[in-house]
């Protein structure tokens, strides 16, 4: 079944190429791009069925030599975490294409160019998760920036140039420092084995035995790259700018997918390769994580711009994910990985719904809206649902994850866990307050009843506005997400089954005994 994995890498690239030739015909470009992204989704489903949760650590492995002089291989394979992430990318891309169906691009830009970049982004991101050669991972980690740079810079809002360059430079710097560490690991391997290699499994064996000073330095190189990518406070400042300036579909990709490479990297590279350093430095990482939870939540509460709001919500969530990863218990680890999935779905849905609000009002300022539920009740309901899953209401998918993270972290890190719980309270505050300001009360706001009415004007509920409720296309985009949110909220087992063995293997590589299972053993 390795062909599925290869097809997953190739199909979007072929799609991008085809779409790039359709720059003259927007409609055809959209249909073709959607078709390719749906093929990708089918392939992802096949991949899921081909994966055996209790099988090898890395499955469907395949590869060829690339640069033999350095033992670099084009080597791909998946574990449970990568599988989940690839699946969620394949799920979100068609929705992004659907949601942006009628979006107007800046003058002189064609849908062909835009969708082509989106498909390239999809291929490269899938490849990042599937790479099992550290060099290849680095290469893709950096290449991943290029389509995104053009997506933000070419199709974004007023300050798009600034946001695109900032995004690129932050990630590029992080990547370069990671490269230094990767070369360091490579040098260790070539000393020890006589022949250099970047193979992930081999490097894990070699580097994890290194003394703790070496490990610490190499750890820091990788950590910086992942902390910027994830992002953890204080390396996060590129995200609000990128999220605010990018077109809404691209915001979904940045916040929902690209960021996960950071936390994925922590699980796949930091913990197994540098177990000693991971344990020693965990308290510092946890400080950043918990700071992120509080800082992100507080700033989200205070945002006036909806897209920046989304960015800070994500920063808070990444704090939770990092907390779970660095608590070193299987419950918290499983919670974190499922949080990565559920964050993509919940936040992805929230961003899409916010995008629909913005598409109606033409402004991303919260203060330009009010009482929208009167004219768009279905949209209001969707915003409420997306908001509730973001604040992890029981019965929605995120609740399972957040609960697992907190209950799993508590035995090893009670103080951090208690502080992080404050984030849950703040989440209720910022989500409900956002909903209240946009949807409830009398119809008001420049975006809804027009600037002509003057500041503070209140609309006449009897008068018809041009703002309509969700149309069929928007319903079709949101419906799958609603189903998944509720399904995973009540029955998360299929996902947990896939990720639990991988998380267990990761923790074994770190060499921690799980306090929770030990207690059960007694």
């Amino acid at each position: 079944m390795t062909w599925v994995l290869i097809a997953l890498l190739v199909v979007p690239l072929v799609g991008a190429l085809v779409v790039a030739f359709l720059r003259k015909d927007d409609k055809k470009a959209k249909l073709v791009a959607l078709a390719f992204s749906l093929v990708e989704l089918v392939l992802a489903v096949l991949l899921w069925t081909a994966y055996d949760p209790n099988g090898d650590r890395i499955q469907l492995a395949t590869g060829v030599d690339w640069i033999p002089a350095f033992g670099v291989r084009l080597q791909f394979g998946i574990d449970g975490i990568a599988l989940v992430m690839i699946a969620v990318i394949a799920l979100l891309i068609p929705l992004v294409i659907g949601a942006g169906w009628t979006e107007k691009l800046p003058a002189g830009r064609s849908q062909g160019g835009y969708l082509s970049l989106i498909l390239i982004q999809e291929a490269v991101t899938v490849a990042v998760f599937a790479a099992t050669d550290v060099f290849l991972f680095y290469v893709l980690f950096e290449v991943m920036l290029i389509p995104m740079y053009f997506l933000i810079g070419g199709y974004g809002g007023a300050r798009r140039q600034y946001a695109a360059v900032k995004f690129f430079l932050y990630s590029f710097l992080g990547g370069l420092i990671m490269l230094a560490s990767a070369i360091g690991a490579y040098a260790m391997a070539s000393d020890e084995l006589g022949k250099g290699t970047f193979d992930w499994a081999t490097l894990v064996k070699v580097v994890s035995d290194a003394d703790s000073t070496t490990q610490t330095w190499l750890f820091l190189g990788f950590f910086l790259a992942f902390a910027i990518k994830a992002p953890l406070v204080p390396f996060h400042t590129w995200l609000p700018d990128a999220a605010a300036e990018a077109p809404i579909g691209v915001t979904v990709i940045v916040v929902g997918i690209l960021d996960k490479v950071g936390t994925f990297g922590m699980l796949r590279y930091l913990l197994p390769m540098f177990p000693e350093a991971s344990k020693n430095l965990a308290p510092y990482v946890l400080v950043l994580a918990v700071a992120g939870v509080l800082y992100g939540s507080l700033l989200a509460t205070g945002q006036r711009d909806m897209k920046r709001f989304l960015a800070y919500v994500s920063i808070a969530h990444f704090g939770f994910i990092a907390l779970g990863i660095f608590s070193f218990t299987s419950q918290a680890g499983v919670g974190s990985v499922s949080y990565m999935l559920n964050h993509s779905i919940s936040t992805g849905m929230l961003i899409l719904v916010v995008g629909m609000v913005i598409a109606r009002g033409g402004s991303s300022l919260i203060s330009d809206y009010g009482g929208m539920s009167k004219v768009a009740p279905l949209l209001a309901g969707m915003l409420l649902l997306a908001g509730l899953t973001t604040l992890s209401l029981p019965g929605t998918n995120s609740f399972v994850s957040e609960f697992l993270v907190l209950i799993g972290s508590f035995p090893t890190r009670p103080v951090f866990t208690i502080i992080a719980t404050v984030g849950m309270v703040l989440a209720a505050l910022y989500v409900l307050w956002l909903y209240q300001r946009i949807m409830t009360g009398p119809l008001r706001g420049d975006a809804l009843i027009g600037a002509a009415a003057g500041p503070g004007a209140v609309g006449d509920p009897e008068k018809k506005t041009t703002i309509g409720d969700l149309n069929k296309r928007e319903i079709a985009v949101l419906a799958p997400l609603v189903v998944i949110v509720l399904a995973l909220g009540f029955y998360p087992q299929p996902v947990l089954d896939v990720i639990t063995p991988t998380v267990g293997a990761t923790l074994t590589e770190v060499g921690v005994t799980d306090p929770v299972t030990v207690q059960e053993g007694k």
């Binding site: 640069i67 033999p68 002089a69 350095f70 002189g108 680095y138 290469v139 893709l140 950096e142 290449v143 290029i146 740079y149 053009f150 810079g153 070419g154 798009r160 140039q161 695109a164 360059v165 690129f168 430079l169 590029f172 710097l173 370069l176 420092i177 490269l179 230094a180 070369i183 360091g184 490579y186 040098a187």
Partner: protein, 525 residues
Amino acid sequence: MNLLVAQAQTIEAPEIDYGALAPLLIVLGAACISVLLEALLPKHQRWAVQLVLTLVTLVGAVGSLILYATSERPEQGVATLAGAIAVDSPSLFLWATLLVLGFGSVLLIADRSVEPGGAFVAQAAIRPGTVQDRAQATKTGMQTEVFPLTLFALGGMMTFVAANDLLTMFIALEVLSLPLYLLCGLARRRRLLSQEAAVKYFLLGAFASAFFLYGVALLYGYAGSVKLSAIATAAGGTDRSDTLLFAGFGLLVVGLLFKAAVGPFHAWTPDVYQGAPTPVTAFMAACTKVAAFGGILRVLTVAFENTQWEWRGVLYGVAVVSMVIGAILGLTQTDVKRMIAYSSVAHAGFLLIGSIALTPEGDAPGVSATMFYLLAYGFTTIAAFGIVSLVRNSDGEATHLSQWAGLAKRSPIVAATFTFLLLALAGIPLTSGFIGKFVVFSAAIDAGLTPLVVIALVASAVAAFFYLRVIVLMYFSDPAPDGPTVTVPGAFTTIAITLGAVVTLVLGLWPTFVLDWAGTGTFLS
């Protein structure tokens, strides 16, 4: 009298390995023929004949090189001409690099489609602003002596990288420099800037040569010989004066670093790059870099390998200064050519890292890495300057960055190619620039220079900003209303740009072949 006769009898003509020297002899011989042609041929025939001669020469030199490299030859290399020239694997690699990059540069130099009559003025000695100057500006005559000058410079560079003693090296340095000084002053447009560039380059270059020669003299005083191997032997455990050794080394290296445009000896670079005709800038940026670093590599690894612990710290600092100057000052530039000049200063810092990557055991993992970097960088630079020469307004090349705004809308292919080349200069994966950085940095980490590598990586990230700025301008800004047009290039420039861009891509994807080739052998010592 008898004594003199006796001495005269003992002098034997040195053995000459013609097969090994063939590429060098072909280039220098053709340069001499080219000068004669310049004197004998009527004006209207010169350009075509000179061009054909130059290209045939370069192809022939590469052919003879391949013939020699694939034949049965001593693995260690041979020292010929009484040990003055060492033809070993690195020499052959650098020669091939120089010849191929020279070929690309000659194509740019020969182009007459972009600028009517070519990028070179007919009479460089006319004072700018005079009546004669204005009259000349309306004509399309071209100085065809650029071809012999280029060939001489190339011959000098080839001698330089293979020179096995310091005196030969000095002669080669002059042979390569003098034609370059002249070439810099030949720009058709902006005569004053061009002349200024030539004078600046000449004066500072003369200074650097003096430093170099002084260093040679002191080292001769130290070792009693100018041979690189003799200096190495002398430095390996004798009680001679360390002052002579290190003063000599310091002066010698200053001369070399000047040619390589390593900061803080880079002050001429931006002015000369900006003022020189763009094809010449391409030639200098690609080939002079190769030659200078070829010389540095040989001197450091052959003559001074066993004193590395004394000088490594100094060059460590120089590399840092060069990277910092290149990266930071590059940020403030508003002219494309000056920006690439500062980028070359930063690159020189990276190259120096590779050059000083010697392990305590005496291995030099940096040699093959640096040579790969030189090859990769050369091709990228030639193509980049090729593109710079295309973006023009009525006043000649539009090199001010603001004029590049919105270029992608009007010329998507040119903008995309330039973007790719800038990404290569920034060292983004899937380009040769990345592989070059990677091999240099891994060699440096092998040699225990990890902190330097971290500094280099940060400098790369800073430098990436000014490359990105150009991409932002081209893609995300609205075009200026009276912006420049992109000239449709003729065959020569198109070939040169395509060659550079394709090599940049291919070496980014499949570097193995060249990496293996660069790593086949070590310097003859």
